[in-house]
Homo-oligomer: 400 residues x 2
């Protein structure tokens, strides 16, 4: 039998295999210089801290009852409290009951889609935006609109504004305080919920910190309970993605609803992983963030410098203040998906930008990640990539 | 703001807080004898085996790149291979690509709902059935029908037959080989997919093993690729629920689709947990299953004997051949939800049966779990519970 022989849901029938998925499989090839995934460098993980946490967690008397047993859907209480304090330090005064632990922030997006979206509901996003958010929300068959386009009001208004305000995936851009305020006002007018995807927020390399939208919202509302922002956080870009621990912070009334949806989705996030992540976060979150910031800053600078040196005319990019990505706009006649096929033959990988646009535009764009490669690899990789772009018929660079 | 102030999805508006959730919170009270949750006894977990597996996993050179890093959505290859062999041993000849690792079998149900259900699609289940399946599928707004009622054919036919063939939650009943064949034939006529929830399958205490529906399907079709059964397995009832590792076994074409849906839902199941579970399963799955079977068998027998001794007239139950549950039918005038309130005051917990019926019937039924209590607690708990039932106006027991 083939899937066509089964009666699948409309969402399953419309799914296409993701280009990114196929790309990520190439990362394992040793000769490959990968600028593809938004993947932390495993060489930077603080393995010793995890070893200590594991040793502690499984030498305690309660290992069987705590680490190996079912636990509550909302999450491990000490981790919820640590995250409440963390959110408070970011300007979002939160209590443990404002936090739902999720299986990575990807699950946060899935649960929020379940909470808010009926078939045909509108979701407003930046264009381009995080592919995984489009995937998560698509399961609930919404329509997508651009947050920069005029928004209808009333029933047709977007229920959900999805934003990656800091060092966005894929563009690397950061929303100014004024842009965050404007988004919040727009959400109030539309009676929409803002989903603030903060996956990269800890990774600022320079410039001034801009408060989370959730903080601006709480300051205006007087408390987190009056807000309309669901903040999705994760340890994946700082401590470890493999443990799959993220969180949603928001008003208790919505967190309770999200917990009920999570119960149906996976009962709870792995107990042991939450205990370990709590230990590691307590022992070394700030130190780890400082450490990886220093390394990624150097790599960002190396990639920007290499682009300055090698990029042919007509290739444009902006300097990101943090995160993992530099976004390239190529001359319109270049198709980045075709370019990728040639690049892979030269052992270079990146993500063609078209995947990040819900409407299939952006064919002449691509995303470069600088997180996985050292400075020498970045120099070689960018040189080879730019040479290849130049061979498509160009000559000198413009940085905008 | 309250949730009523937001524009929530229809599914979120119709959600009600689960009685079971509230009940499970009581399990922690030390004086409580809980017959409520379908929870393994943590005293039976093989802690030493997990300690060995953890030590091994995090002393290897690849800990950072494997255990702490992102991994593939489909799952850790050695675990997929172990499970393929396990399925083959159950009569379902499978390869690694027939297996998708899920975050517990609960996630399997969520993903299958996403794969198959549009709003208004029909789902046929036994009545009563596993509450968590009703929760998972409800997110996709199907209609529920009884598998025992006449089924419409064509577009209105159920897309999904949900079955717990072995020692079902909540009834403890096992489907005969003939009943399994009949369900398979029905699915073929309806062009439906069978979801075989095998959460309790390893926990058989006596009687003859009946082949999984997936095995009967594969035998008829000649290979797993021709089947229409998605088998949902889990380590939660045998090795550990806290690590959240389950699997779906099925034809590759559907497994590939499910992997795409899983990518949008949580990217992948925690890498480290899969490595540990693979180690533990290799080192001691069979031994662990034998060990817990012996203990749970004793507890089942103790509960049956206590019911025989103490149950008042008009209370009916059937002897389960495995699993964790005995299902009681009380005289029609007794409301089990009211009974629970009285029982909790006497430190006894169980789950009122109404929660397991999609149509709200079954008010005079309840589910007893014998997995968490020792024989002395079972004797005391059943005595007190039966006394309480007797006080609702009854006299002697009938076992059917």
């Amino acid at each position: 039998m083939t899937p066509a022989d089964f009666r699948l849901s409309a969402r399953a029938r419309s799914m296409k295999a993701s280009e990114i998925r196929e790309l990520l499989k190439l990362v394992g090839r040793p000769s490959m210089i990968s600028f593809a995934g938004g993947i932390p460098d495993p060489g930077l993980f603080n393995v010793a801290l995890f070893q200590d946490a594991w040793r502690e967690a499984f030498s305690g008397p309660s290992i069987a009852r705590e680490a190996l047993q079912y636990s509550t859907t909302e999450g491990y209480p000490p981790l919820r409290q640590w995250l409440a304090d963390h959110m408070t330090s970011l300007g979002v005064p939160a209590e443990a009951d404002n936090i739902l632990i999720t299986s990575g922030s990807q699950q946060g997006l899935d649960l929020i889609g379940k909470l808010l979206l009926d078939k045909g509901s509108a979701v407003a996003t930046h264009r381009p935006t995080y592919l995984g958010a489009l995937q998560a929300f698509s399961a609930f068959e919404p329509t997508f609109s651009s947050i920069d386009a005029p928004q209808p009001v009333g029933d047709a208004a977007a229920r959900l504004l999805y934003l990656v305000p800091d060092f966005a995936n894929p563009t690397g851009l950061t929303m100014s305080r004024a842009a965050r305020r404007a988004a919040l006002e727009q959400a109030q007018i539309l009676n929409a919920v803002i989903v603030e995807d903060a996956a990269y927020t800890a990774l600022r390399y320079d410039g001034e910190t801009v408060p989370p939208i959730a903080a601006l919202d709480a300051a205006t509302a007087g408390s987190i309970e009056g807000t309309r922002t669901l903040y999705c956080g994760t340890f994946s870009k700082t401590l470890s993605p493999g443990l799959r621990v993220g969180w949603i912070s928001g008003p208790k009334a919505l967190i309770r609803k999200l917990a009920m949806l999570k119960q149906g989705a996976d009962l709870h996030t792995a107990s042991f992983n939450q205990m370990v992540m709590h230990q590691v976060a307590m022992a070394g979150f700030d130190t780890q963030v400082e450490r990886i910031r220093a390394v990624y800053r150097t790599r960002r600078d190396a990639m920007l410098a290499a682009l300055d040196r090698h990029a042919p005319l007509g290739v444009r990019w902006k300097r990101p203040e943090g995160g993992m990505f530099i976004w390239l706009e190529l001359p319109e006649h270049i198709d980045a998906a075709n370019l990728l096929k040639q690049a892979i033959r030269r052992d270079i990988a990146f993500v063609p930008g078209g995947a990040f646009f819900p409407d299939g535009s952006g064919r002449n764009t691509l995303r470069l990640s600088f997180s996985l490669s050292d400075e020498a690899q970045i120099e070689v990789g960018i040189f080879k990539l730019c040479e290849l772009i130049g061979q498509q018929g160009l000559a000198r660079a413009v940085s905008v």
